[in-house]
């Protein structure tokens, strides 16, 4: 968890510059990782579906940095960033994308089912909203056992239209379980914009919390400091016994839904503008006033880590075909 300082005179809190630099490095690592994933997918190395979260790195890093090791998360089909931010090494993730035994799900999951239980990652889910109820149950367990832990589930704005979301949030607030529901709102349900999937304007999606009497906390999802502070507040609330929090983070998906998505449904000028104005890494770089040398040094470091992950994955072990049935039953 990052060091939070009181901001003199403002009454607000802020994250120390040292921690922000750490966040920057992690966000850049996620970005370079996902760019590499795009490259290897286009090269034909990677099977399956791949969804990157380029533009959403501040959400993954800001949220996960506010969690304790024993807190658990569940993620979505756009999971690489969350998984890295919760502590899984890029080697294990890349190896999973290559379908290797060394992967974080040992080749059984793939990009949409990244798990790392030891790190508190209960898995990425390929069914939109599908992972939400399990976090309610995990949080209920922490409550029943009197443990100071929370459950956190990431999902997009598209998920807020699924019955699973409503059932789970209703139950969670009813039982006041210690959980954070992270609404990672990039305003797109695959190719369908918010205007076509929700009667609420995108900036007001968080209001759905009110239907359950649930605490709503909102922050700019492109500002990692704001995300982090909001998550710390949400965690505190979740553990107070008052119930869970809907943490609404407005963010931007600066790429297509999947790698190779031509995005024929999207206004090109708007996307260009978003890329120029909403890139969380550029925003943080400017704020930290990183010199070109500093940036390049960091970039070289994380790029080397990513390159090493590809080598690790490529030299990994292929699963035995007959092991396909190994984990059907415990």
């Amino acid at each position: 968890m990052a060091t939070v300082e009181e901001r003199a005179g403002s009454g607000g809190r802020r994250v120390s510059e040292e921690d922000l630099r750490g966040f920057f490095r992690e966000m850049l690592l996620i970005r370079r990782f996902e760019e590499k994933v795009e490259e290897r997918f286009r090269a034909g190395d990677l099977p399956g579906f791949l969804h990157v979260a380029i533009g959403q790195e501040a959400v993954a890093v800001g949220v996960c940095a506010a969690l304790e090791r024993e807190d658990v998360i569940a993620s979505t089909h756009r999971a690489h960033g969350h998984t890295i931010a919760k502590g899984t090494h890029v080697n294990a993730i890349m190896a999973e994308l290559y379908g290797k035994v060394e992967g974080c799900s040992h080749g059984y999951g793939g990009s949409m089912h990244l798990y790392d239980v030891e790190k508190g990652n209960l898995g990425a889910n390929a069914v939109v909203a599908g992972g939400i109820p399990a976090i309610v149950g995990a949080a209920l367990t922490f409550q029943l056992r009197g443990e100071e832990r929370i459950g956190v589930v990431f999902f997009g704005d598209g998920a807020t239209n699924a019955g699973t979301f409503h059932e789970a949030l209703n139950l969670a607030q009813l039982w006041r379980v210690p959980a954070i529901f992270v609404l990672e709102n990039n305003s797109w349900a695959e190719s369908t914009p918010n205007t076509q999937h929700s009667p609420l304007p995108t900036d007001e999606l968080g209001k759905r919390a009110y239907a359950y009497g649930m605490k709503l906390i909102e922050a700019d999802g492109q500002d990692v400091e704001a995300v982090h502070l909001a998550t710390l507040a949400a965690r505190e609330h979740a553990l107070s016994g008052k119930g869970p929090v809907l943490l609404h983070l407005r963010t931007y998906r600066l790429t297509g839904h999947y790698i190779g998505d031509p995005q024929i449904y999207r206004d090109k000028d708007e996307l260009k503008r978003e890329r120029a104005e909403k890139d969380p890494i550029e925003l943080l770089r400017a704020r930290l006033e990183l010199s070109d040398e500093e940036f390049e040094a960091l970039d070289a470091e994380v790029t080397a880590e990513v390159e090493a992950s590809v080598e690790f994955a490529q030299s990994g072990t292929d699963p035995k075909p007959e092991d396909a049935l190994k984990y059907v039953y415990a």
């Binding site: 209960l122 898995g123 949080a139 789970a168």
Partner: protein, 326 residues
Amino acid sequence: MPETTYREAVRDALARALREDENVFLMGEDIAEMGGSMAVTQGLLDEFGPKRVRNTPISEMAIVGSGIGAALQGMRPIVEIMYEDFLTLSMEQLVNQAAKHRTMSGGQLKVPLTIRTQGGAGWSPGAQHAQQLEAWFVHVPGLKVVFASTPEDVRGLLWSSIYDDNPVVFFEHRTLYPVKGEVPDELEPIPLGKARIHREGTDVTVVATGRLVHDALTAAEQAEQDGISVEVVDPRTLLPLDEETIVESVKKTTRCVTAHEAVTRGGFGSELTAVIQHGAFDYLDAPIERVGSKFAPLPFAPVMEQHVVPHVEDVLDAIKRTVARA
């Protein structure tokens, strides 16, 4: 506890597990003060309190889904889906989540969740409160499926289901709740995947589940009067299936009838038929007969309901068709 009803036997397994194991808790609609729509959980709230006997909103996805999450943290939740018709509302969580976490995680997770439910015709519940959907779940790798037909079995099998490290869909039959039977004082867990031979015979094997086990036993007695010796086998666990016991029985009798209340088409009898024809092909003296409901949503009027679902005479007719082939 000799002479116990099926309902009391279920309750006894639940109470013992709650008493002995703090990781066990119950969730479901109307299971607390009301004691469940079938009165199975009556009295458990008083003994174990509202933290462990939890009423839920009418939210089947959240009931099963939160059960999954608790199971992932090492609890042994027992959730009740009031009618198996309502399992359809929880299918996403059951099929995509509960059944798959273990494989998708490469063995990192297990889901020791029991989903109790009940159904069955015979009291004019109409089309949405009586379906027998057990075959749907047999098609899903990662789930286990149990369907118990006697008080002794329901208690021992429920216990094993609670202590199985996999998600188990546990079917009870509504009309069996008042049925009485001998149940030993000591709870004997009955291993999943073990069939029970209820009655030995030499001419025909009836493989029956749920209510039809009782109809098959009655049909067997009647057949005996015509000089036909019927063996009745209840698989009890549909997944995993005790193929050996069933195939061996048919090898001995050379004829087979499958019987369940679910509709015949695509029913569990179809799977049994495939297993038996493959395992006992050279022994069969007649085509395998399947008994089940006619292919219709269950109508309300009692006369139509009774026309749709199978009875003793349907089993008896099927037995006679198999022996008629000589």
